[in-house]
């Protein structure tokens, strides 16, 4: 039976992913594309983290009362994967901003149309 009553997180993930993709593809300003990229990557973090939750489970830090009873802790693996994805997102944004600075210094604008037009004029 298709679980149509989708939980709230899946809907929010899909919405954020689409907003982020729109930001990257639809927007003409380069900085807004970078912001769109960040929204897109944050939505992926949400998707992974909410996939790892369990009802009534605590933070995955070993404590004697729960000991190694698996149902007591939430799933640690998505958290590990997301730490890596966050670092990748920071690195990509850093390089993107560096590129934006060189583009702005050379062409004086971040609007894609003006840049292309100035580029055509200068070549």
């Amino acid at each position: 039976m298709m679980r149509f009553a989708m939980n709230y997180y899946d809907l929010m993930t899909a919405a954020l992913l689409v907003i982020g993709l729109y930001g990257m593809v639809g927007k003409r300003n380069l900085l807004k594309k970078v912001i769109g990229m960040n929204i897109f990557q944050t939505a992926i973090f949400l998707f992974f983290i909410q996939g790892g939750t369990k009802p009534g489970a605590t933070v995955p830090v070993w404590d004697p009362r729960i000991a190694s009873e698996a149902a007591g802790y939430i799933n640690p693996l998505p958290h590990v994967l997301i730490l890596t994805a966050i670092v990748v997102s920071v690195a990509t944004t850093g390089v993107a901003l560096a590129l934006l600075i060189t583009i702005y210094r050379r062409y004086g604008s971040l609007e894609e149309a003006t840049i292309l037009e100035r580029m055509r004029k200068s070549s």
């Binding site: 992913l17 993709l21 990257m24 380069l30 594309k33 990229m37 897109f40 990557q41 992926i44 998707f47 992974f48 996939g51 693996l77 994967l81 890596t84 994805a85 990748v88 690195a91 990509t92 390089v95 993107a96 560096a98 590129l99 934006l100 060189t102 583009i103 050379r106 840049i115 292309l116 580029m119 070549s123």
Partner: protein
């Protein structure tokens, strides 16, 4: 000595870590460490290839933990073959790059070599890994260094590289989202493990979405036909040494990842009968072949022409993968090898012309045949091989693709391959004619162009000769390395 799988990327990583430190001491050390690192990695890859051929697959548990718990490296015929291709072309282009970088981007010599090594390490990491998420991490290492390396050539390189960064980050995010769906459906990240768990959830919608997302992401990285928009600008405005390294390798490793996905993770019949993934790749590849060749004919800038010819050659590889039969796969893998050598040679020729004359418009190549004899000889060999003239390697990979197409019984693909050889001939003979037949109109060109210095000329010629040698050796390569790999498709 079964540490081979991890030694291939690790040697590159260590040389990348030492370069910044050495750079503080003496600038020239950066090049020496880089060359040593890539050559050592080439030795390990060759040793790995030999061990795999004789003794079979090597499985390596990182951190000492067995697969589902830890990350696993697997060196089999396919990955050892790819690692050798990447490190051999990498070594040759690195030898070439010193003078070219000193000419074009002199003041950033140290970070340049550190990033070149990280790029190669990322590519080797993708090739050797058998873990889905680990592939994403090394894909990002390779991509990040490629974004930066391509932005420092021409002044228009920054915008081209920014667009490539946008599309590359979309590709990476699609891939990791697909892996996420796979993980939540099967519960494991190890490729072999997921392959066993998949049949149980074959018809789950999450797995279908995962297939679509993963193949779209890797297709974007591979610049398969409709997803190739970032490629022409980036290869045109990158420094010549960088495009000489990235053009032959980066898209091929993405193609390898697609082959790895279709062979190891998702069973070939699943991608052909249940989900029409391989037919779509085949048709996109065929369309890419034609589109790339036609656009290449229309170009006047030599590097942009090579970029569009790359799009069409990647179409061949996509077609080979899409045919999903042993002959097609052998054709695709052999074309990855041949095209890596051919495209590296062509881009190094472009870099040599730019190094000597600063020109890249094909119309201005008049009379270079006499003035740069050795470079143009290498160019001729590579051009003939691209067109598919027998003794050179290019003919044999197209031959296997033709057999694959016939075996599949799709005559449109066969016609596409034959037609595109003609189209390729058109734009390469146009350059050859310019280089040899046309006399340079200006009486004495301001700079008397002659062959570039030995450190640039030797790699170009070796690649040219290599294209011929690969042609002669193709039967050995196919029977010893590629046939066992393609057997999985039976």
């Amino acid at each position: 000595m079964n540490h081979l799988p991890v030694l291939i990327p690790i040697t590159l990583l260590f040389s990348a870590f030492f370069i910044p430190l050495a750079g503080f001491v003496k600038r020239e050390l950066a090049f020496v460490i880089a060359l040593a690192g890539v050559f050592l990695s080439l030795l390990f890859s060759a040793a790995g290839l030999f061990t795999v051929i004789t003794a079979g697959e090597i499985r390596y548990h990182l951190g000492g933990w067995p697969p589902p718990v830890g990350i696993e490296y697997a060196l089999d015929g396919l990955s050892a073959f790819m690692a050798t291709v990447v490190t051999s072309v990498g070594t040759l282009v690195l030898v070439y790059s010193r003078r070219s970088i000193l000419r074009e981007v002199p003041e950033r010599f140290v970070p340049m070599y550190a990033l070149l090594m990280l790029l190669l390490a990322g590519l080797c990491g993708i090739i050797v890994t058998a873990d889905l998420f680990n592939l994403f991490v090394f894909l990002e290492i390779a991509s990040l260094s490629a974004y930066a390396l391509m932005a420092v050539g021409d002044e228009r390189g920054s915008l081209a590289s920014f667009r490539y960064l946008m599309l590359g980050s979309i590709a990476g995010s699609f891939y990791v989202l697909g892996v996420g769906f796979l993980y939540f459906s099967t519960g494991s990240l190890n490729m072999a493990d997921v392959a066993q768990l998949l049949p149980a959830v074959h018809h789950s919608r999450a797995v279908v979405a995962a297939v679509i997302l993963i193949f779209t992401g890797l297709g974007l990285k591979m610049a398969l036909f409709p997803l190739h928009l970032w490629l022409p600008d980036v290869y045109t405005y990158a420094p010549s040494a960088v495009s000489g390294l990235i053009a032959p390798l980066m898209t091929k490793v993405a193609a390898y990842a697609i082959v790895r996905m279709s062979l190891t993770v998702f069973q070939p019949h699943y991608l052909h009968d249940v989900l029409p993934v391989t037919p779509v790749i085949a048709w996109l590849g065929a369309a890419g072949i034609l589109y790339g060749s036609i656009m290449a004919i229309a170009q006047s800038d030599f590097r942009r022409m090579l970029a569009y010819s790359s799009v069409s050659q990647i179409g061949y590889i996509g077609l080979g993968i899409g045919l999903a039969n042993p002959l097609g796969l052998i054709g695709a893998l052999l074309h990855i090898l041949n095209h890596a050598f051919m495209k590296a040679c062509l881009f190094l020729v472009a870099g040599s012309i730019r190094f000597r004359t600063g020109r890249w418009k094909v119309s201005s190549f008049a009379g270079l045949g006499r003035k740069m004899p050795w470079t143009m000889a290498a160019f001729t060999v590579a051009a003939l091989s691209m067109v598919g003239i027998p003794p050179a390697a290019g003919f044999f990979s197209k031959w296997y693709l033709l057999l694959g197409g016939i075996d599949r019984g799709n005559w449109f693909f066969v016609a596409t391959i034959l037609l595109s050889s003609l189209l390729t001939a058109v734009y390469f003979f146009r350059v050859l004619e310019q280089v040899y037949a046309v006399h340079s109109r200006e009486p004495s060109t301001p700079v008397i162009p002659s062959d570039p210095p030995a450190s640039m000329l030797l790699p170009t010629v070796i690649l040219g000769v290599g294209v011929l040698v690969l042609g002669l050796l193709n039967s050995v390569i196919v029977s010893r390395i590629l046939e066992p790999v393609a057997a999985a498709l039976k």
